[in-house]
Symmetry: C2
Subunit: 212 residues, 2 copies
């Protein structure tokens, strides 16, 4: 299909598509004349993925490019490609403070990882671990429950979700399909999970406090 | 304590504290002279909450102000105040598209709410419901599993988390304390949950694909 059709089918303007092509987020089409290129279903699919990362995952264009590049880097083994793609996902760990609360958070999280049987997390510190410690430190400062006993149910639920997520990844027949699925499911199921938690809060609050 | 001490204890600069005072995010201190005010533990606590909303919850200042104002609006009943505070939390539902994928997402989510026994969700549509539908529609467009059977485990886990969260809210002895806890726990446990899911992915991926 030509650019105009790719635009019509994806709902993305031709100007934006050209921008993604220049930025390397979308692979080039097959050149048919000096000024025209032909695009296929793989371009439409990539365009939908890029839009999802940017609109739903709220990723800046530069981060989306990094994620796509990591997913395409075939010099890495399969596990590393899955990891590289999701490690490039935006997590802002916040300021690394070195106060008492951060110390407590470190100990809480270490004990949690131990109890979950998750090893090797400190070998290659991930942004997710930084975010976890920063968030727990903020809870400590406000005096809210966040010791290992309180965190453990969240960790166990996360482990259950990871099994379901990786099952969905393995349903994809090709290695490239699995990497794309890992990125898409990681990003797109985050708002699903947070939205459902918010809706569950409303239900549970109505049940307990409704009309009070 | 004076402004300088409030700044030292909170780690927030005096310029930022003055800005929060002007913007109504921090309640005014008790005036002692024409140019000086005295602050108490309640100011320190509020400041920590505001910092957590902005830094960890990534809330714009205007949204944080709205959340604080909703939490303080004593004209609402307890359930409504809990809800007002969390409904003001930032959820960007994305563009309301009206394509086939959005129609499928609507039906999937309706069936999910029915199976979870969550009623009254459409009476007062929340940003969380919009985010959920938009995210599911993006999954549909990419052809990933997101029918009711796939969403149900996420919904059940969210319901379990909501019970734990509301238990923590009810541990607070005062109504004001419960509202603050609802806001803080909603916002601060989101990065905890997402970080743990990312870490669980790394573990599960290493278990399945390690060294491949």
């Amino acid at each position: 299909m030509r650019l105009a059709e790719l635009s019509a089918r994806s709902g993305v303007s031709t100007a934006t598509i050209k921008y993604y092509l220049r930025e390397g987020l979308l692979q080039p089409g097959h050149r048919v004349t000096a000024t025209q290129a032909e695009y296929g279903e793989e371009h439409l699919r990539r365009l939908r993925l890029v839009r999802a990362l940017i609109q739903i995952g709220k990723m800046p264009v530069a981060v989306a490019r990094e994620v796509i590049a990591a997913a395409e880097d075939t010099s890495l083994d399969h596990h590393m490609r899955l990891g590289a793609a999701t490690r490039a996902l935006p997590r802002v760990p916040g300021p690394a403070e070195d106060d008492e609360a951060t110390g407590i958070a470190h100990r809480s999280v270490d004990a949690l990882l131990e109890q979950l049987g998750w090893h090797g997390m400190h070998d290659e510190p991930s942004p997710a671990l930084g975010t976890l410690i920063t968030s727990v430190a903020a809870l400590v400062r406000l005096g809210y429950p966040c010791d290992t006993a309180h965190l453990l149910p969240y960790g166990r639920l996360a482990a259950e979700l990871a099994v379901a997520d990786l099952d969905a990844v393995e349903e994809q027949p090709t290695a490239a399909g699995q990497i794309e699925a890992a990125v898409a499911l990681t990003v797109l199921y985050e708002p699903v999970l947070l939205s459902l938690r918010r809706l569950a809060h409303v239900q549970e609050s109505a049940r307990r406090f409704g009309g009070r």
